[in-house]
Subunit: 340 residues, 2 copies
Amino acid sequence: MATATGISKWPLIGSVSRKKYDSANNYFSKGFSQSKIFLRNPSMNSSPLIFHEVGAGHTHMLKKTVINVLTPNISSPTTTAEFLDAWNDDYNGVVIDPDSLPISANAFANALRASLANWKLKGKKGVWLKLLLEQAELVPIAIQEGFKYHHAESGYVMLTYWIPDELCLLPCSPSHQIGVGGFVINDKREVLVVKENCPCSCSGVWKLPTGYINKSEDIFSGAIREVKEETGIDTVFLEIVAFRHAHLMAFENSDLLFICMLKPLSFDITIDEKEIQAAKWMPLNEFMGQPFHLEDPMSNKVIDICIAAHEDRYSGGYIGQQLPSKLDRKLSHLYYAESK
Amino acid sequence: MATATGISKWPLIGSVSRKKYDSANNYFSKGFSQSKIFLRNPSMNSSPLIFHEVGAGHTHMLKKTVINVLTPNISSPTTTAEFLDAWNDDYNGVVIDPDSLPISANAFANALRASLANWKLKGKKGVWLKLLLEQAELVPIAIQEGFKYHHAESGYVMLTYWIPDELCLLPCSPSHQIGVGGFVINDKREVLVVKENCPCSCSGVWKLPTGYINKSEDIFSGAIREVKEETGIDTVFLEIVAFRHAHLMAFENSDLLFICMLKPLSFDITIDEKEIQAAKWMPLNEFMGQPFHLEDPMSNKVIDICIAAHEDRYSGGYIGQQLPSKLDRKLSHLYYAESK
């Protein structure tokens, strides 16, 4: 039976509502079983479909159905245009197969137009079109036909087309960067601090090491890595003690910054000069006493929480526990407070 | 003095390291002061620059410097190509002005090539190029010149070019969707649950209402909105009790799902049939006793935490407190555990 991956796989929490759920999720993950449907040609939509089982993948959680078209042998230009290879999603939408797009821009334009007309007739809703770097020529053609951008990564751009004459229910593109900050304190009550290279107005301030996590990296391992990269100090993760949610940051997106308590395993500092200007162990009182921190309510509160957590006066430390979920058959981390 | 917005504005936490910090952040936020530099033409790079102060914005946190070119009056095709309007970022990179790109594809191609050659000579590093929907024709030209995609939203695609012959230090595109799940329990120990419309294998299970938060929406308000949209129930936010971090979800990105305790303010359910099949108040024991939940370690753990929180046996509930930060001059929410 077709099913959705992702957040919607967690039935306790419930699947996200349709307009937020990423239907494409089903198709851009790996390991789905696959079956193909061949349509003889666009004028034969009402003919019986020829089903051809192409292969079975190593999971039975999703069936991917590809709709192909055999070469048409009729001459009218409007009816000879081939349809694009595509498969249906669970939300009455269509995902165009990125691996079998016509190479010629003209053929693509014709096939796209014919396919859109066909999908409109069939009452389809969202259309997903992934174009690789080497298919960039096709971008203006798709935009010309009414596609919009959805999201992009280095090697591709994803475009979408919402067919119905009603509010678009397609999910948004990823909206958040995830940052981590490491609070590392040693037995002498000295905090591991860094001074940035960047020419910003806070460049004179000694701060906690921070950074963004990498793709598919966990919060706790990202914090450990950042501290190691910037200062050379090895640490173990103890707990998350707070997080900040800020909007209208880079590209007007948002970010979440998780403050992690880390225990140092080494003490000799080696800085990465490309990343930072200096790093050192700084007495806690001196760190807290920096004028910038005293005058900044956000910094002040975070320092209070970190000190309380260090002194075992804080109950909100979240550990991370890896747990399986039946539906996505994956291990994910759940962060929560252990009973103390 | 030029400074960075975003995560790096929080000196307590420290600015993120250069390779993760989004230098474009400086330029796509609003309200920066601006000054323009006019270069006479590309062959006059060594001539004294004519500085022309165009205007001062309402914040002095960043100076945006635009490099313009006066129309060249020399005839060689290679030297007459105008440079693209652009400004420098804090990381020795360049941001091409999206509002003054040549309309003709040819002129764009020539100016882009000339500009890249010029920036290479000057030792520039990252180049940012934002192309609006109506500039889609320019996408294949930029890709041809070596640009890659960075990220996209409905109306534009951002492209980047990394000039140095070394590891690209530009930040990644946003990588996370943020989901919220609402645990709403009434005085009769009944939990507000929904059954999804989607054809997935968990469609028979009664679940918590969930969804993704909207752009720039806060976690607590997203949870309240989702519950209201799906069930018609009004609630107030009490606390976040846990969150799950899952990878390789939609488009192989990650998501964070925050479990929020909400207190119901109304009791009559009205469902949104587009989003869900059914909703009801379900006795807690019956909710917990669903075979799916019993067999799913992730769901099980979350239910345990929610019940403990409801019964005041959980210390890890995070409230959200809005706090100002001096550097970004913004209010953001800090989530942490209040002392009980």
